[in-house]
C-alpha cells in the first residue's frame, strides 16, 4: 500500500472494530518507543497504525480489590509518580523505570513493553513475579490472563486478530511482602538486559518465606516463571543456604542463547547472581513493610 493509515479511536470497541476490519499489517501504537524505532529502521512497514493513547480506560490507574489496575498506555513516568503503586509494588515500578532514558520514560508503557514481546523486556519479569494479570479486549469480548502467558516468543504474543491488551492488574499484597527487579547491563543506562530477575516474596510472622515468585528475563525465548527458584525460598528464613539454592535453581532454569548481548554460559551464571541479589532486595523490603 502507498499510504500508511493512522487511527486514534477513543473507545476500546472502536479500536477492536478497526483492528478486525483492517487488512495487511497492523501495529498498535502506545508509547511508540519500540514501534517508531522499528519503523525508522524499516524493519516493519505497517498498513495501519492504531494509536491507543486516546482511549481513556487505557490511560488510567485505578484501585481495584485492594490492588491496582494500570491502563496499558500509562507511561513509565506516570507510573513512577504514583505513590500507591510505588509503595505496594516497588519492584514493578523500578523495572518499568529502567525502560530507556528520561525522555523514553515519558512515552514508554507497560502495555507496550509486554506486547512488544521482547524476551529482555524489563517490566515483564517483575510483573510475572508480582502475579500480575493482563486484561484483553477483542471481537469475542474481554478476558484476563496471567502476564506470563502473553508473550510466546520474540515479538510474538498470544493475542488473536482484533485483540488488544487494555490494562494490567497488580493484586493486593499481604503484609510483610516485598518485590524487586534487577537487570544486568554492561553499561549503566541505555542498554537492554543481558539478564533480568524479578522476585516477589511474603514473610510470615516468624520471618519465614510463606510465598514467593521468581521470574527471569533475557534467558529464554520469553520471560520465565521459575517455580523451582520460588520453592527454594518458601518455608525458609531466606538465609544463605536458601539463596544459594535459589541461585542454583535460577541458573538451572535459564536456557539462553549466545547472542550479541551476551554468551550462553555468562547468562546462566549471572541468572543465579541476579536472582539472589533481587531476592535479598525483596527480603529487605518485606521486612520493612
Amino acid at each position: 500500500m502507498e499510504q500508511m493509515r493512522y487511527e486514534a479511536p477513543d473507545t476500546v470497541d472502536a479500536a477492536v472494530a478497526l483492528l478486525v476490519g483492517a487488512g495487511g499489517e497492523t501495529r498498535i501504537l502506545a508509547g511508540g518507543t519500540d514501534l517508531l524505532v522499528q519503523l525508522r529502521a524499516e524493519w516493519i512497514e505497517p498498513d495501519l497504525i492504531l494509536d491507543v493513547k486516546k482511549i481513556p480506560e487505557l490511560t488510567e490507574i485505578s484501585k481495584e480489590n485492594g490492588g491496582f489496575r494500570i491502563g496499558a498506555a500509562v507511561t513509565g513516568a506516570e507510573l513512577g509518580e504514583h505513590l500507591g503503586v510505588k509503595k505496594a509494588w516497588p519492584g514493578v515500578v523500578e523495572a518499568v523505570e529502567l525502560i530507556g532514558s528520561v525522555q523514553i520514560q515519558s512515552r514508554a508503557t507497560m502495555g507496550g513493553n509486554l506486547c512488544n514481546a521482547s524476551p529482555a523486556a524489563d517490566s515483564v519479569p517483575a510483573l510475572i513475579a508480582a502475579g500480575a494479570t493482563a486484561a484483553i479486549a477483542g471481537p469475542n469480548g474481554r478476558r484476563e490472563i496471567p502476564v506470563e502467558d502473553v508473550g510466546t516468543g520474540p515479538g510474538r504474543t498470544c493475542l488473536a486478530k482484533g485483540e488488544i491488551v487494555t490494562s494490567i492488574f497488580l493484586p493486593s499484597r499481604p503484609a510483610h511482602s516485598g518485590d524487586a527487579y534487577l537487570r544486568f547491563i554492561p553499561r549503566t543506562e541505555m542498554d537492554i538486559a543481558v539478564v533480568g530477575a524479578g522476585v516477589s516474596l511474603t514473610l510470615d510472622g516468624g520471618g519465614k518465606c510463606s510465598a514467593a515468585r521468581v521470574a527471569l528475563g533475557a534467558v529464554a525465548e520469553r520471560a520465565l516463571l521459575v517455580d523451582a527458584a520460588a520453592r527454594a525460598l518458601i518455608g525458609t528464613p531466606v538465609d544463605d543456604a536458601a539463596l544459594d539454592n535459589l541461585a542454583k535453581a535460577a541458573s538451572a532454569a535459564a536456557r539462553p542463547i549466545d547472542d550479541k548481548r551476551g554468551t550462553k554460559e555468562y547468562r546462566i551464571k549471572v541468572s543465579g547472581v541476579l536472582a539472589r541479589r533481587a531476592a535479598q532486595a525483596a527480603l529487605e523490603r518485606a521486612r520493612q513493610s
Partner: protein, 763 residues
Amino acid sequence: MSTAEKLENGKFKWVGTRPVRPDGVDKVTGRARFGADLFLPGMLVGRVLRSPHAHARIKSIDTSKAEALPGVKAVVTRDDFKEMPSESVAAGEMMIDYRDMTRNIMAREKVLYDGHAVAAVAAASASVARKALKLIKVEYEVLPHVIGVIEAMEPGAPVLHEAMFTEGVEPTPDTPSNIAARNELGRGDVEAGFKKADIILERTFDTAPVHQGYIENHACVASVSEDGKAELWCSTQGHYMVRAFCAKLLGMDISDLRVTASEIGGGFGGKTIVYLEPVALVLSQKAHHPVKMVMTREEVFRATGPTSGANVWVKLGATKDGKITAAEAVLKYQAGAFPGSPVGPGCMCAFAPYDIENVKVVGYDVVSNRPKVAAYRAPGAPISEYAVECVVDELAEKLGLDPIELRLKNAAKEGTQAAYGPKFGPIGFVETLEAAKSHPHYNAPLGPNQGRGVASGFWFNIGGESCATININEDGTAQLMVGTPDIGGSRASMAMMAAEELGIDLDKVNPVIGDTGSLGFSFLTGGSRVTFATGKAVIVAAGNVITDLRERAAKIWDIPVDAVEWEDGFARPTSSNAGEFDPLSLADIAAMAAKTGGPIAGHAQINAQGAAPGFGTHIVDVEVDKETGRVTVLRYTVIQDAGKAIHPSYVEGQYQGGAAQGIGWALNEEYVYGEDGRMQNTGFLDYRMPVASDLPMIDTQIIEVPNPNHPYGVRGVGETPLVPAMGAVACAVEHALGTRLNELPMSPPRVLKAIGAIGEAQA
C-alpha cells in the same frame, strides 16, 4: 609587547583564557547546520543498496525495474564510475589508493563486506527510494569469507584480492594472500639487548576493531549543473580532501567542484575519506537535480570506519634495576576490505615513549571481509601502545618497581633518538610522569575489588598546508577565515590567536570556515594539526594585516613605514623622532581604508613545519564486580603536555574525550559478526560505547613544555589522549582481579572467564 615577550612574561590577553566558543549558541539552540540540514529546491533523496553478503562476486545487476518506478530519477551502479588506476594518496594520517577508493564507494567485481555499496538511487521521496532499492536485482555468487585477522592470515583462508601478493617480503610470494604488506623498523640489535636482560616478558594481545562513533552520521547534498560545475555540502574533516577525491573519481577539474563543509558532529578521523559524496554527485549529474544522501547509523556501522582490530605480540627485556635493554613486537592489523591499516604508525609509536637501544617492530597489513578501516584518533598507536604499556606494567610488577618509576628510568627526553627515526626536540613526557607521581589521585587509598592502572602514550602530531585570510571590515572588526573544519573548538582558538596578534578584542573577530571556492588548499582537520598549523597561518595572516595597517598609518602620517610600530592594537610612531602623532586604532585605520588604498586584509598560505609530539600519562581506578564481571570506572586523571594551551577548556575537553573513548574501547566496544559474516550489532544499543553515566568526571592536568616551532609553543593535543587509555584501564582491571586479560574489550563475560567464574567465553 611582542609575542616572545608575552610568552616570557605570560602576559597574554586572550591566549590561555576560556571564552565561550563562537559556534556555541547555534549548537545548543539547534540552529547550527550539519550535513543533513541543507535543503535545496527540487532536491531528491539518495539511498544506497548494500550487500547482504560478506564476500560475493557480483554476477549481474538489473536496475530496469527500479528505473521504471515513478519518482525514480536516477540509478547508479559500478557502470557509472570509471576504473581508477592504482595510485596512493594521503588521506589524513592514512594512505588511500584510488583503485580501492572507487571500489569502496561502489563495488565493482565483488562485494567485500556486509554493507558494501552495490547501487544507489535518487528519487522524489524516501519511500520511493526505498521501494526502488528493493526493485534492483543483484545476482551474487556467494564466496567463503573471513573476518578475523589471524584467520585471514592463515594459508587457505578465502582470498579477497586475487592480485594481492604481500609487499615487503623477499622474494615476493607467488601466491596471493590477504597479507597486503609487511613492514619492519628498528635500531640496534635486539638479540644482544635481550642477552643483557635479567628479565624477559613475552605477551600476546588481541584488540577488537572499534568505531569512531561520531554522533552525526555521514551526510551530504550534491548539486551538479548542466554546465559541468558542481557544488557539494557535506559533513567532513576536510572539504579540500573531499574535493580532490571526488574530482579525481569523477574526472572533473578541481575548479569545477566547490565543496562546503557543514558543521560537523564529530569525526575522530572517520570523516577523512569519502563514502556518499562521489555517489551523490553522480546521482545528481544523472538526475539533473540536487541529491541529498544521509546514512543511517546501521549504514555507518556496516560500511564506514572503524579502526583495526589486531593481534600484537610484545617482548620486553630489562635489567633488575628496571632499564629496558631490548624491545620487540609483531603487529597484525586488520585493514578491512582494502589494504591500508594504520600498522605503519602502530609500529612507529609502539616503543616511542621510551629510550631503548635495541628495538625491532614488524607489522602486517591484513585484509578481511569487513569495512575498510579509517583513521581513528592517533591511528594505529592506541593498539600497539596498549600492548606495550601492559607489558611495561607487568615488568614493573615483576621487578617490584613502581610503574611510574620504571617509566621514568626509560622515558624519552629531549635528544632521545626515537626508534622510528628522529631525535626528539623538547618534549614533556617526564613532566607528565612526575606530575602523575605527585598527583593526589596516584596516592589515594583503594577499596576492596578495586585496582589502579597507569599508562602513558605518544603521538607524533602533524603540520601541513593551511590557509587563512583576515579581512578588516569598515568598522574595524575582523573577518577571519580558515579552511579547516572546526571539530574541536578551533574557531575559538583561531580567533583568540588573531585577537592576540592584532591587539583587538576577541568579540571583534568573527571566525568562519571558508568553502573551497573562498580559500586556497588546506589539508584536513586531523593529525592534531589545526591549532598548530592553521594557527600558524592565522598568525602569519595577522602579521600581514599588521604590515598593511602600519603602511596605512605611515601614509596617513606621511612618515616612513619603518617609523610605525604596531602595539596592543594601535599604530604608533616608533619614537618622537618620527613625529608626534596620536596613536591610530585598528578601527581608525579601517575607517580611512578607502582613502589609503582600499580594503585591508592579510592572507597566509603555508605548509607548517615543526609539529611536536604529544605525550600523556593516565591514572585510572576501577572496581570489578567479581560475580558479574562488570567494571566500574571510579576515578580518572589525564595528564598531558599541550605545549601551550590556547583555550584550556578545549584542551581539557580533548583530554576527557580521548579518555572516554578509550574506556569504551577497553571495556565494551566490539563488532559482533554472525556465522554469515554479517554485523549483528549495528546500533549504539548493542555497540556499547560508554554513556555519560558510565564515566566519572575525568580530571585533567595540562603540562606546558612549549614547542619551539610555534610562536606560542602549541603542540597538537587531539589524539594523544586516546593512546594511554586502554593500557591504563587494562592495568587497573588486572590489579583489581589479580590476573591479566591481555584482550580487549574486557567485557563482563571475558572478565568472568579470566577469573575462572565461567568457562571459555565465546564473545
